[in-house]
Amino acid sequence: MALIRTSSPHLHKASSTSDVMRLVVLATLPGLAAMTFFFGWGTLINVIWACLLAVGFEASIVKLRKRPLGFYLKDYSALVTALLLGLALPPFAPWWITLVGVFVAIVIAKHLYGGLGQNPFNPAMVAYALLLVSFPLQMTTWNAPFVMINGGESWNVLGFSDTLLLIFGGIEPPLFDSLTSATPLDVMRHRGGLTTEEVWSAIPVLAEGIGAWHAVSAAYFMGGVFLIYRKVFTIHTPLAILATLAIISSLFYALDPYQYADPFFHLTTGATMLGAFFIATDPVTSATSNRGKIVFGIGIGVLIFVIRGWGGYPDAVAFAVLLMNLSAPFIDQYTQPRSYGHAKANRGMKGGM
């Protein structure tokens, strides 16, 4: 009897980069839907525009680097980068913001460092941080969720064609001005002498509109849980980020509830959920071992709280992730697990012996 003898691993199909990336794209869809539902067509248009640009830039730079075009386009990594950037941008960001952002993400942050797998920093976050520093006005102009316009009686955010015109520069700003609103994190940051309690009752975006941010965060959370279930990434990084942020903010909230926001606020506003599940888990730029991922996540959690509380910008996820990307190789060096057959782990600095 002829038995086919093979050695392990007995997998039928290797999980390729493109499979993983496709799952990530799938998992962002609830978040994209929630953003579109609450903040209008802007996010959807931004995401599609960013994806088109990303494919264009990726194709031209791959061609310029004389690499096989089809192979690199089929791994969908450029699409994921564009998707994450599009989700992070303000819904009605002008077209050229997205253009600059995608160029920086794909060409400078990814391919100038050697392409996917070689980039030390998360490309989408490099682009976001650069845009935030360069164009503070456009990058902090958010619109109000639909529940705040006309008492939320109907879905009366700007229509699809008007949004398209607004983004691509065919509409006068005054029409848009009536729709803008500060984000909850902006309000918390620039509240003057108000205590946290007064801010919650006095400022409409917190009193009426906070539900929209909660819902968007919940949608990202769902997508993240799906990715953990499909084993795209482990639970370590997101859990460490969220737990650290929750613990630190509870500590400060318990010490001085008048000055600090409650932990639930920190977890459900801004880009916390998007960052914890979709950005910090990037396998290229985060730490490698499980223990390393926990250290990496704790660092991000601490930095988010510190920068939100005492830094110059309202949200902190991009800066926190970039700073920890920078320390990921260092973390890896000290958290390398013991390999089979060795008495102890091969950790830390070598040399001198």
Binding site: I108, L130, V133, S134, F135, Q138
Partner: protein, 233 residues
Amino acid sequence: MAADYKKITTDGLWGNNPALVQLLGLCPLLAVTGSVVNAIGLGVASTIVLMGSNLTVSAFRKFVPESVRLPIFVMIIASFVTAIELLMKAFTYELYLILGIFIPLIVTNCAIMGRADAFACKNPVKESLLDGLMMGLGFTAVLVVLGAMRESLGLGTLFSDMHLLFGPMAENWKIVLVDDYPGFLFAILPPGAFVGMGLIIALKNVIDSRRNTRQLELEPDDIVKPERVRVTG
């Protein structure tokens, strides 16, 4: 030693350019190249100091004891920088205010110290003077290219405020490239200088490697192996 003026010239301007190849003097290079006028101002000041210090170091090279040569070079360079600083205070006061600390900091510009130690203290006066001029011009050229890149990207203009350096006749040299430009702060901030500098170095390397390949095709026997140029003594 036969004076090879041509080699000194090409080395300073291209082959051993202080900014692109030796990567010296990057602190002022990255810090003040926010606009063309700043770049020219600092470039001219550095060039004059470089020529003066090369000339003096070379003239006194037989009297300077080996063991204390560096302090002596520093004092020579510092006196030229003081003179330049006073001159700029007298004639281009506004530019002097903009460049600020980077004028006195020319003293610590390694490009100048490097040339004094690597070239001027071993070569006759004429060659040293030419070397100072060419190295200075090479440095200035990189400053101006980087300044033009950052000014046009960051502010959408070119040659703005040139009257600070060239007097009233330069009032309207300013070229507005894009009307109603929103401004790109990243290019003006230091990170933009690093990225721009990296791109210029990459461009130089591309040109050099293209030229080498072409030379290789023309005369395969006469291959010049790339060699790291020793810049300090």
